[in-house]
C-alpha cells in the first residue's frame, strides 16, 4: 500500500478540517459540547479514492485526531478503519452513488463512529460520562453539522483536485 502524491490532498484537507473542528470545539467548550464528525473525513476516501489509499487516509486522519485527545492513542483510528471497510463493502454491494446515498451513508458512518467511540470510552474507567444531556446534545449537533457541511466539504476537495489538475483514482 503506497500513498500517491494526489492522495495527500484529501489527507491535507482532512488535517485542515480537523483544525477547523478543534476551533469550533474551543468555542463550544463554554457549553460542554463536542462536535464529533469523523464521517466527514471518510466520505471522500470512501466514494472517490482507491480503496487502499482511502483506507490509509482514514486511518491516518484518525491517528491525527487521537494524538490531541486524552483517549488511548488509536481509538478513533481503529474505529475509522473498521467503518471504512464496512462502508466500502456496502457501497460496492448496493452500488451507492447518488448524493442522497452519500448523505445517508455519511450519517450512518457518523452514528457508528460515535457509538463506537462512546462504547470504547465506557471501558476506560477514567472517562465516565459526566452529563448524558451533554452527550446526546453533542451527538445531535454533530449529525446536524454533518448534514450542512458534507457537500461543501466534498466539493471543496473536488475543487482542490481540479485546481491542481490531478484526479483521484475513482474520481467521477
Amino acid at each position: 500500500m503506497k500513498l500517491k502524491a494526489q492522495s495527500l490532498l484529501p489527507l491535507l484537507a482532512n488535517v485542515f478540517l480537523v483544525w477547523l473542528i478543534q476551533l469550533v470545539n474551543d468555542g463550544l467548550s463554554a457549553f460542554s459540547l463536542l462536535l464529533f464528525v469523523p464521517a466527514l473525513w471518510m466520505v471522500f476516501p470512501v466514494f472517490y479514492a482507491h480503496y487502499k489509499t482511502g483506507f490509509l487516509i482514514s486511518v491516518i486522519t484518525g491517528f491525527w485526531w487521537d494524538a490531541t485527545e486524552p483517549t488511548p492513542f488509536g481509538t478513533l483510528a481503529v474505529w475509522m478503519g473498521c467503518v471504512y471497510v464496512l462502508m466500502i463493502h456496502l457501497k460496492a454491494r448496493y452500488e451507492l452513488k447518488k448524493p442522497l446515498h452519500v448523505q445517508l451513508l455519511a450519517q450512518v458512518m457518523n452514528v457508528l463512529l460515535f457509538l463506537g467511540y462512546v462504547c470504547t470510552l465506557a471501558f476506560c474507567t477514567e472517562f465516565w460520562v459526566s452529563s448524558w444531556v451533554s452527550l446526546w446534545l453533542s451527538w445531535a449537533l454533530s449529525q446536524l453539522v454533518l448534514i450542512g457541511v458534507l457537500f461543501w466539504y466534498v466539493d471543496l476537495q473536488k475543487a482542490i483536485f481540479l485546481l491542481l489538475r490531478c484526479k483521484p483514482v475513482n474520481y467521477r
Partner: protein
C-alpha cells in the same frame, strides 16, 4: 502496535498540530490588541486611574505579606519546622480549550522549553484551574479542576481538617461542579458550613495553602454515616480562561 512506536507517532502528530493552535491564539491576541487600540483616550485615563488605586492597595498588601513571611520564618526557626515550599509563577496564555462530557482540558502556550514540569498546579484570579498532565516542547496540557478525574486535598476556610475534592464535570451551559467528601460530621446542618469557601491544603503538595477551589453548595451525611459530602460550585470563568499561572516549585526549579 509497539509502545515506543505508538508514543513516537502520537508525540509527532501532536507536535505537528501544536503550532496551529499557538498561531490561532496569537491571532486572537492581535485581534484583541487592535480592538483595545480603538478605545478612546478617556477610557485609558479612567483605566489608568483605577489601576493606580489597585496598585496602591497591592503595595500595602505586599508590605503586609513581607512582614508575615518574616514572622513565619521566625516561627519555623523557633519550632525547628521544615520550611514552607515556595513557588514561582509562570504566566501562560491558553491556546485551546477542550471541555466536554468526558474530559476538561486546556492547552497552554508554554511547555518544556519554558520550564513547565508535569504535575504542576495551575491557578488564575478565581482560584485553582487544574494540574499539568502532559508537557510537550512548546505546549502543555492542563486537566481542569472540573474534570471527573481531578482530585485534591483541601479544607473548608474556617476548619483546617482535611477533606477530599473531586471534579464532577459541568452540565450544558452551566458552571463547573465538584464534590467534597470526607467532611467531618460535626458541622453538617450548621449554617456556617453552607456556602463556605473550599480552599487548597498543603497536604496535596502541588498547591500552596488557601487558594480557592470553589464554594460548598450544601452538605449532607454520606452513605457510610461517618463523614459528610456535598456539591461544590466552581468559578464561572473556568471555561473562558485566557491566561493562567503555572505554579513551579522553587526546589524543582533549582534542580532544572
Amino acid at each position: 502496535m509497539p509502545v515506543v512506536f505508538k508514543r513516537t507517532l502520537q508525540t509527532a502528530f501532536y507536535e505537528l498540530q501544536a503550532p496551529s493552535w499557538a498561531l490561532t491564539s496569537v491571532v486572537k491576541d492581535v485581534q484583541s490588541f487592535w480592538g483595545l487600540k480603538l478605545k478612546s483616550k478617556n477610557d485609558l485615563i479612567h483605566t489608568g486611574r483605577d489601576m493606580a488605586r489597585l496598585n496602591a492597595a497591592y503595595e500595602l498588601a505586599l508590605q503586609e505579606n513581607a512582614m508575615l513571611k518574616h514572622e513565619v520564618g521566625a516561627l519555623e526557626q523557633l519550632f525547628n519546622l521544615p520550611p514552607t515550599e515556595g513557588y514561582r509563577y509562570e504566566v501562560a496564555r491558553v491556546a485551546r480549550r477542550d471541555i466536554n462530557t468526558w474530559w476538561h482540558r486546556l492547552t497552554l502556550r508554554k511547555g518544556r522549553k519554558h520550564g513547565i514540569p508535569k504535575g504542576a498546579g495551575v491557578v488564575f484570579k478565581g482560584g485553582v484551574v487544574g494540574r499539568v498532565v502532559e508537557v510537550y516542547e512548546y505546549t502543555s496540557a492542563v486537566e481542569l479542576i472540573s474534570s471527573p478525574n481531578f482530585r485534591i486535598a483541601g479544607h473548608l476556610q474556617n476548619d483546617l481538617r482535611p477533606v477530599t475534592y473531586q471534579g464532577l464535570g459541568s452540565p450544558v451551559g452551566q458552571t463547573g461542579l465538584g464534590r467534597v467528601s470526607q467532611v467531618p460530621l460535626d458541622g453538617v446542618g450548621h449554617d456556617d458550613k453552607k456556602s463556605q469557601q473550599l480552599v487548597t491544603s498543603r497536604l496535596g503538595g502541588i498547591f500552596p495553602e488557601g487558594i480557592t477551589i470553589g464554594y460548598v453548595a450544601g452538605l449532607s451525611c454520606g452513605t457510610d454515616g461517618l463523614f459528610a459530602q456535598g456539591e461544590v460550585v466552581l468559578d464561572r470563568g473556568l471555561s473562558q480562561l485566557q491566561e493562567v499561572a503555572v505554579l513551579i516549585p522553587i526546589e524543582s526549579d533549582h534542580e532544572a
